[in-house]
């Protein structure tokens, strides 16, 4: 059964929805950074590979009260991941160095049980052999291995950047387990033109995310299920926060949060 795992470092993300314009730069940056192959038929969104997907939210009210918001959804790197406990071959695990949920493509048998378990749809399957038309293969990120057909893949919080940051810290004589704020950030964080995404160690008071995650406007997706996500969202709009979880009609937003 799934259980909580607490680590000294907990890499997390805080996404300010009120700053997000839905431009999709984070999605593009993620695809380029992590060697996601272009889809042959990108009109089929249920087979398009996007480790990070931007969802469009509305308050369901007619004009002139109608409002929209955009919610980028990477892997939540759950504290209690529904996917890790179900994988029959330990192809995915909660890593001790920062609590990132890893995925090992050469270990994966492609049963897709982890995909069935994930309520965030953060996992993707390689339905065909990946193809990079023309010279696209020449611009692949050398630090990220390309995945083969028949395996599941997901957002890794650009784990290779974490390793690079650790190497740089060692080279500069610093503790690789005590990175400074900004030493390690994900490609989507770097690409966001509005600075809507903040990345860092949620456990480290010196990191900005530590404070942001404690904001009264912070919420996490589907907290009631008890997955304990490491991705937080911020919004001053109550209806946006309410869209983050399922509520009965008589329940107030933010009620019934559960830690597993």
């Amino acid at each position: 059964m799934a259980e909580f795992k607490e680590f000294k470092i907990k890499w997390g993300m805080v996404i300010d929805i009120d700053k997000c314009t839905g431009c999709g730069a984070c999605m593009v940056a993620c695809q380029a950074e992590n060697n996601l192959p272009p889809a042959e038929d990108a009109s089929n969104k249920l087979r398009s590979m996007n480790w990070l997907t931007v969802y469009r939210l509305t308050n369901h009210k007619p004009f002139p009260d109608h409002e929209v918001a955009y919610l980028p959804r990477p892997c939540m790197q759950c504290g209690k991941p529904s996917c890790v406990s179900v994988c029959p071959v330990i192809a995915t695990d909660k890593r001790e160095e920062g609590g990132i949920v890893s995925q090992i493509p050469p270990r994966c048998i492609g049963c897709r049980y982890c995909m069935a378990s994930c309520p965030y749809h953060a996992r993707y399957f390689n339905w065909y052999d990946p193809k990079w038309p023309g010279d696209l293969a020449q611009v692949l990120t050398p630090d990220v291995s390309a995945r083969m057909r028949g395996v599941v893949e997901k957002c890794s919080f650009c784990h290779h950047r974490f390793m690079k940051a650790q190497e740089a810290a060692v080279a500069n004589g610093r503790d690789p387990m005590d990175l400074r704020d900004g030493d390690y950030i994900t490609a989507c964080t770097e690409a966001c033109p509005n600075g809507a995404i903040t990345f860092g160690d949620l456990n480290n008071p010196k990191h900005k995310v530590h404070e942001l995650s404690k904001s009264p406007y912070a919420f996490r997706l589907l907290e009631r299920l008890g997955t304990d996500p490491q991705v937080y969202y911020l919004s001053k709009r109550e209806w946006v926060r309410r869209e983050g979880d399922n509520y009965l009609e008589n329940e107030k937003t933010g009620e019934n949060k559960r830690q597993g």
């Binding site: 087979r47 029959p88 071959v89 270990r107 995909m115 019934n256």
Partner: protein, 415 residues
């Protein structure tokens, strides 16, 4: 040589008649065409990838998993009838236990075949043994299903050895005898393995706490679906065995198993059906009235339009409740038409249950801003299921033609 008998009459079981070889080959050719169609689809999947199917990232499970779960439940007649015959010594069941074992063998090998296609990296199928995750219900399924498949092969082999010509070989005769001596051990191991993997298949869904449609509380590490799957399998398995037997009787035009034995199977399965229906209804009520509400959802949130409508939920339950009450009335269950019809309804309910857990469970959007998507299997998925159907029917046809799987057949068809 007696030219009035089929060319291969020397291989038939003692005292049993069979159709002409030409007729038999025509039947096999018909099945062979279906088999080849399925084989073409399977080769496409293995050659090009699972993109050939109708599945996608929202519906990682589809027709194939539904098919697997259904045939594994319906094939449960093998372990349950075997356990009743060899462990509890219900002697009358010897007349149908061979067929139950053959059906179990075919259902499980068929399911394994589909699983080979369904996993993205079939060449890594041994990873389940090499890198097992002891926390995963699927690991238990992989272990038990493969082990039980071996047990079913061991139960099937002695039936093949019973062939009249093969039995003339001394070694085969002794081997077959020894297999029969140790059959209670196989039956015991089979009962243990099968109970666990039937349960684990249900547990696979119940543990998914991120999927409100599927998540169930339970006892210790086992969600309620674990126990429901075991009960549903022992209720529907013997019924499916009786239905296959009856279908074989209709096709061959011969009596194969006496009505008394079928009624006994019906009474056993019917008793299990009462237990299953009671707990299934209790589970559904608790899920709707408590589990869902704790997740901020209501019963209505679980359904969408016609394709995932409430009618499916009620149909699943009614297809259990109606047969349960009908089969309780002696006068009604002694009418063959009603008896078989009710069994078909129960098997349909179990199949529907597997479909709803597999497809509707994934269709239901959990994030409030997500939307319902629908899934329809494409021809490749249907063809691969047809491949298994054709394979199973061909093997069953050959087994029936050349081996004495029905001890009562000669007696029941005496002219």
């Amino acid at each position: 040589m007696d030219y009035s008998k089929p060319f291969d009459a020397g291989l038939f079981p003692e005292g049993c008649e069979r159709c002409s070889l030409t007729k038999f080959l025509a039947w096999m050719s018909f099945l062979g065409v279906i088999f080849l169609w399925g084989l073409y689809a399977a080769i496409r999947v293995l050659g090009f990838g699972l993109g050939e199917t109708g599945m996608d990232d929202y519906f990682g499970f589809g027709l194939w998993i539904t098919f697997d779960l259904a045939v594994i439940a319906l094939g449960a007649g093998a372990f349950f009838t075997g356990a009743l015959r060899y462990i509890l010594n219900i002697d009358e069941l010897k007349n149908i236990v061979n067929l139950a074992a053959v059906i179990g063998f075919l259902c499980y090998t068929g399911a394994m075949l589909i699983l080979v296609l369904d996993i993205g990296q079939p060449i890594r199928c041994w990873f389940g043994y090499w890198y097992p995750n002891v926390h995963s219900m699927l690991t238990e399924v992989i272990f038990c299903i493969t082990c039980y498949c071996v047990v079913l092969i061991l139960e099937y082999v002695p039936l093949v050895l019973e062939n009249r010509k093969l039995m003339q070989i001394r070694f085969v005769r002794i081997l077959a005898h020894n297999f029969h001596v140790y059959m209670p051990i196989f039956a015991g191991i089979g009962a243990f393995l099968s109970t666990f993997h039937q349960g684990s298949l249900g547990g696979m869904y119940g543990v998914l706490f991120g999927r409100p449609y599927l998540f169930r509380e339970g006892f210790f590490i086992w969600p309620w679906t674990f126990f429901l799957f075991v009960l549903s399998a022992v209720a529907s398995g013997p019924m499916f065995t009786v239905l296959v037997c009856t279908a074989m009787e209709k096709l061959s035009g011969r009596k194969l198993v006496s009505w008394d034995v079928k009624q006994l199977m019906g009474r056993i399965a019917g008793t299990m059906l009462i237990v299953y229906t009671f707990f299934k209804c209790l589970d559904s009520w608790y899920w709707a009235a408590d589990t869902l509400l704790a997740q901020g959802l209501t019963f209505d949130d679980m359904f969408y339009g016609y394709i995932y409508g409430k009618w499916l939920f009620w149909a699943e339950h009614l297809l259990l409740i109606v047969p349960m009450f009908v089969l309780m009335v002696k006068k009604l269950r002694e009418n063959p038409m009603i008896f078989y019809s009710m069994m078909i309804l129960v098997c349909a309910s179990i199949t529907l249950n597997r479909y709803l857990l597999t497809v509707q469970g994934l269709a239901m959007p959990v994030m409030p801003f997500d939307v319902w998507h629908t899934y329809a299997p494409n021809w490749v998925e249907w063809a691969c299921c047809a491949l298994v159907f054709a394979y199973a029917t061909m093997v069953l046809s050959v087994t029936y033609r050349y081996t004495p799987i029905f001890p009562q057949e000669a007696e029941l068809n005496k002219k």
